[in-house]
């Protein structure tokens, strides 16, 4: 899954030629074998490296603070979201939903790598949610819909339908 993501990311960043990856361990941690220097290991490290290569450093954040926030959500993606047991998914959705209440993107008002990788990471969860559940996580759904329509980001992933009008106005749950 991580390899598909990296391939999509390369395309989004406008790479002409795809890199070659391998994986290691049970978690299938990606490895980037480059011709210069030691191999790079780990999704976040490789993704950040690709962004650098593509000369789009603003995707890593524009200020020191923003960079720190971006790194934090990248780490969140890898440590909290990936391999999250079923029973914890709801609390993760809740956290993200609450966090995104007053934000357009994860790092505030700028689109960053954190949005891309978190979008990839939650896609399978969002795809499984019922219309009502998506509505319960309104802020998250709004963000998600925004990112999947961001030019060039969706790539290999199917579109998840997010309704903009509310269906469950009376919802007692």
């Amino acid at each position: 899954m991580a390899l598909m993501e990296l391939a999509s990311l390369e395309k989004s960043l406008g790479f002409k030629k795809a890199n070659k990856y391998s994986t290691q361990g049970n978690n299938k941690t990606p490895i980037l074998q480059s011709n210069k220097g030691a191999p790079l290991i780990g999704l976040v490290t490789i993704a950040s490296h690709l962004v650098q290569e593509a000369a789009q450093p603003e995707l890593l954040g524009r200020t020191a603070e923003q960079r720190a926030v971006v790194r934090q959500w990248l780490e969140y993606r890898v440590t909290q979201l990936d391999g999250c047991p079923k029973e914890d998914i709801r609390s993760i959705l809740k956290e993200l939903n609450q966090y995104l209440e007053d934000k357009v993107y994860l790092a505030g008002s700028d689109f960053t790598l954190a949005d891309i990788l978190l979008y990839y990471g939650v896609h399978h969860i969002m795809a499984d949610l019922s219309v009502q559940e998506k509505e319960q996580h309104m802020n998250l759904s709004r963000w998600f819909d925004h990112i999947q329509h961001y030019p060039g980001i969706r790539q290999h992933l199917p579109l998840v339908v997010v309704l903009r009008n509310r269906l469950y106005t009376g919802g007692h749950h």
């Binding site: 960079r67 926030v69 934090q72 956290e95 609450q98």
Partner: protein
């Protein structure tokens, strides 16, 4: 930079990282130990850095990197700065070292942890550890309290989920099925044990009440969670509490422990008051009525309480008030005022979900008492504009009232100390440990112990007159008061922690009250109370293929089980066979029939019946002469092994697993008979006849052992077998001594009684009709919509049904308003009526006369 705040907590190794890097880079920030929550996270985390812009950083490594980045570097050219920063390899390396050092600190600071092979790691650790920055911050996190503080922090953390999931779960099943090869020594030893016989063991003494702790005996006090009086107990309640505790109590008595098993009905609270108003009775009359219902159900299930009491007694008032005053005098109770919505019409304070109104933030007109669906913001119910009681639609008023709170934070460290000791020496199921640790990790808050109600134990303090204790404070004290109603010398059990082992049985939703809240009350009261040393919590029992059905009123209730014509013992067997140990399990009629027919009838019953029938048909009802050969001794060894397993498992309260040992023994027995064919050999020569005799004699003795092992699980069947075999009264006692030994209890010449079948086949039609009678017409949609909202306690079932009912009502009204198709509306109305019926059943009311449902109370 001065506005930056870094929040750390004692003993948290992650804080080491950031403190160390802050020290290294010289970044200045205020370091606070205060409690502060990241607003959007569901769990408190440390360290947290509050950035000048107001954002929270809640991950240690990004904080470390952030410190590095802002430590006086030129930040004008972003790209070059990033590259420069990356290029600073020396610093990079230092950060990696420090982060690793911090993560390994709790483990490696004790040098004995490292095996000699890892010398390089040890050398590296010493080097980094010797850095002055590391020394400084290590001291700051530990606050001079040594490594103990780290240990306490780590113990509070639940196990990482990944490890739980990957843990080998199913190996046991394979082991169970695999034929265990017996060695020659084992086989010879089994033969020797067998021939010891019963010797002259004294007959075990009759149980004499009152049972009190005895010197030199294992004194075991067993409680099962008190069922709420307002509801008829469900199969899930029965297996989770009373039945599990009963099996363990019976087992304990067999083992010769001095065991006392108490339980009773929990009777105070709003639900009882409401019920009384509905039925036009006094709360006491309601309690009397339902207490009797409970008692009769448990009697039918053969729950052998030493005492089944209730919480509405003088003793309860006396003991609860005593604990209250002790807590009050020691400063563990803090007063505070609470604003609550009160419906004058319904005459009660409204729970959040029973209020609706206009959202104070976005003016959405249908905001609930806890959250607005439109803007998603959390709401305090009293802030709603134009609030409405959802039951009667009238306007509630805000009432402020003074209450007392138990100061849990003040008791936290005492609690932790005790928990560490109790968990390391006692039996705590892993869900009980996990839930308790999560509670501690999230930090304890003061909890309100008083309520503005009438039906409860009165608060004795004059400033709080007219109030009663909140049930969670009051109900567990019921264990003490019920014991006090049983014997005046109750304190010998409850204020005797050195001599008494306390076992609490419950479903997992009750764990925090037994592991955190109640122990805090008792610790704070400082009266040498006996605290729980073994906390046994089950997961949930589901009904058929439906999740969380307990709360929906579908399924089988205690009072209906006896109307199924299936014997109580078979119910007990099946519930225990699928006791939710370690994971949820599901009750299924088809599976029940299958287990009855395959395990009870064809395996267990068949073996015992054949053994007895051979003896009575071929040997005139006497146990024949036996001359053991290798093959017989091998069976003895296999049976002895299963018996020891059974005892080991039950000692650790693995009730379901131990039941499998019984079934394994009869499987071995059936095989043994099948291979040796005594019914053919009996017709042969002298040698063959002797062989038939030996096989029959050994089999009858195995049957006798089975009767003893079945006693905790199926008491009536066990007694029937004993009666049929005329087994001596002391046989169980003899075989359950120590690690367990299978001895010959029915020697040659022993006369047995009349043998008859123990079990009956459950026919497919019978099961189908039961299935139809008890559910299965559930609405698929509601099932998925509400599975998350479902809760397991019977107390919340009617509350939950009320909610579903409200929702379904809205749905019907909406359809009618939209002029939807008639068939659709009819279907939804049918669901609505079904729900009403369930609610009535859940509240024990007589529903509208209905054609298909027969028995209801």
């Amino acid at each position: 930079m001065s506005e930056m705040k870094l929040f750390v907590s004692d003993g948290n190794p992650h804080c080491l990282k950031v403190l160390a890097v802050a020290e290294l880079t010289g970044v200045k920030c205020d370091i606070c130990h205060a409690k502060r929550l990241v607003p959007f996270l569901s769990h408190p985390v440390r360290p947290v850095l509050l950035l000048p812009c107001g954002q929270h950083l809640f991950k240690a490594n990004p904080i470390c990197l952030y410190f590095l980045e802002v430590s006086g570097r030129d930040v004008c050219d972003l790209t070059s700065q990033w590259l420069e920063w990356e290029a600073a390899e020396l610093q990079e390396a230092t950060v990696v070292d420090i982060v690793l050092w911090a993560a390994l600190y709790p483990l490696l600071s004790n040098s004995s942890f490292l095996p000699d092979k890892l010398q390089c790691v040890a050398r590296w650790f010493e080097q980094v550890n010797a850095l002055p920055v590391c020394q400084t911050v290590a001291q700051r996190v530990q606050q001079q309290k040594s490594l103990e503080s780290l240990k306490r922090f780590l113990q509070k953390q639940p196990l990482p989920p990944a490890r739980c999931r990957n843990a080998p779960l199913c190996n046991r099943a394979e082991e169970e099925d695999a034929e265990r090869e017996m060695t020659d020594e084992e086989i010879q030893a089994a033969g020797a044990t067998w021939s010891r016989g019963l010797a002259d063991r004294p007959t075990p003494a009759e149980r004499r009440h009152p049972i009190l702790p005895q010197e030199g005996k294992r004194n075991v006090l067993i409680t099962s969670a008190l069922p709420y009086v307002n509801n008829v107990p469900h199969l899930g309640n029965i297996i989770g509490c009373v039945l599990s505790a009963d099996v363990f109590a019976r087992y304990g008595r067999l083992r010769g422990w001095n065991a006392l098993f108490v339980c009773g009905t929990d009777e105070y609270g709003t639900a009882t008051e409401n019920k009384a108003r509905e039925e036009g009775l006094s709360p006491q009359e309601i309690c009397d009525k339902y207490h009797a219902v409970h008692a009769s159900i448990y009697k039918w299930f053969q729950i052998d309480f030493d005492h089944f009491g209730r919480t509405t007694t003088e003793k309860q008032t006396e003991i609860a008030q005593d604990i209250f005053w002790r807590l009050y005098d020691r400063g563990f109770l803090i007063p505070d005022t609470v604003d609550q919505l009160h419906c004058e019409n319904c005459q009660r304070f409204l729970a959040d979900r029973f209020v609706e109104g206009i959202c104070p933030n976005c003016r959405y007109p249908e905001a609930r008492g806890d959250q607005c669906d439109k803007c998603g913001r959390l709401i305090n119910a009293v802030e709603l504009k134009d609030p409405q009681c959802k039951v009667c639609k009238r306007t509630p008023v805000v009432r402020s009232s003074a209450h007392l709170f138990l100061d849990l934070p003040k008791l936290e460290s005492q609690l932790e100390q005790w928990l560490e000791q109790s968990m390391s020496t006692g039996n705590w199921t892993s869900n009980a440990r996990h839930i308790t640790r999560s509670w501690l990790r999230d930090g304890l808050k003061p909890r309100c112990i008083t309520r503005d109600l009438r039906w409860g134990t009165p608060v004795p303090h004059p400033d709080f007159s007219g109030k009663v204790f909140y049930v969670w404070f009051d109900a567990p004290i019921g264990y003490l008061s019920i014991t006090a109603s049983y014997t005046d010398e109750w304190e010998k059990w409850w204020k005797n922690p050195e001599k008494v082992e306390l076992y609490n049985f419950m479903a997992k939703d009750n764990v925090p009250f037994h592991s955190v809240v109640f122990p805090c009350s008792l610790l704070g009261a400082q009266d040498n109370y006996t605290l729980v040393s073994n906390l046994i919590a089950t997961e949930y029992l589901n009904y058929e293929d439906t999740k969380f059905s307990k709360s929906r009123g579908v399924g089988v209730f205690g009072d209906m089980a006896k109307d199924t014509d299936i014997p109580s013992d078979v119910w007990r067997f099946y519930l225990l066979y699928l006791r939710p140990e370690g994971q949820d399990s599901a009750f299924s009629w088809a599976d029940m029939a299958l287990k009855n027919n395959s395990e009870l009838l064809n395996n267990l019953g068949n073996f015992i019946n054949r053994a007895g029938m051979f003896a009575s048909k071929f040997f005139e009802g006497r146990v024949p002469q036996m001359e053991l050969q290798q093959e017989d001794k091998r069976l003895l060894a296999q049976v002895g092994f299963e018996l020891r397993q059974y005892i080991q498992l039950l000692d650790r309260v693995r009730i379901r697993d131990a039941l499998k040992c019984i079934l394994n023994i009869s499987r071995h027995g059936n095989q043994y008979i099948q291979v040796n064919e005594p019914w053919k050999k009996i017709k042969g020569g002298d040698e063959d006849r002797l062989r038939a005799g030996t096989v029959t004699g050994v089999s009858v003795n195995v049957a006798c052992l089975l009767s003893a092992m079945l006693r905790p699980y199926m008491p009536a069947v066990s007694a029937t077998i004993r009666e049929q075999l005329c087994a001596p009264a002391n046989c169980a006692d003899a075989m359950f001594q120590g690690a367990g030994s299978f001895v010959c209890t029915l020697p040659a010449g022993h006369r047995i009684g009349t043998i008859s079948p123990l079990f009956q086949k459950l026919e497919a039609e019978q099961i189908e009709s039961l299935k139809r009678r008890f559910g299965g017409q559930q609405d698929e949609e509601l099932r998925t919509d509400y599975k998350h909202a479902a809760c397991s306690t019977s107390r919340s079932r009617s509350w939950w049904l009320t909610l579903v009912l409200l929702f379904q009502g809205d749905r019907v009204r909406a359809l009618k308003a939209q002029k939807a198709e008639k068939t659709l509306i009819t279907a939804e109305v049918a669901k609505l009526l079904q729900l009403k019926k369930q609610l009535a059943a859940a509240e024990g009311k007589n529903p509208e006369p209905s054609p298909q449902k027969g028995k209801k109370k």
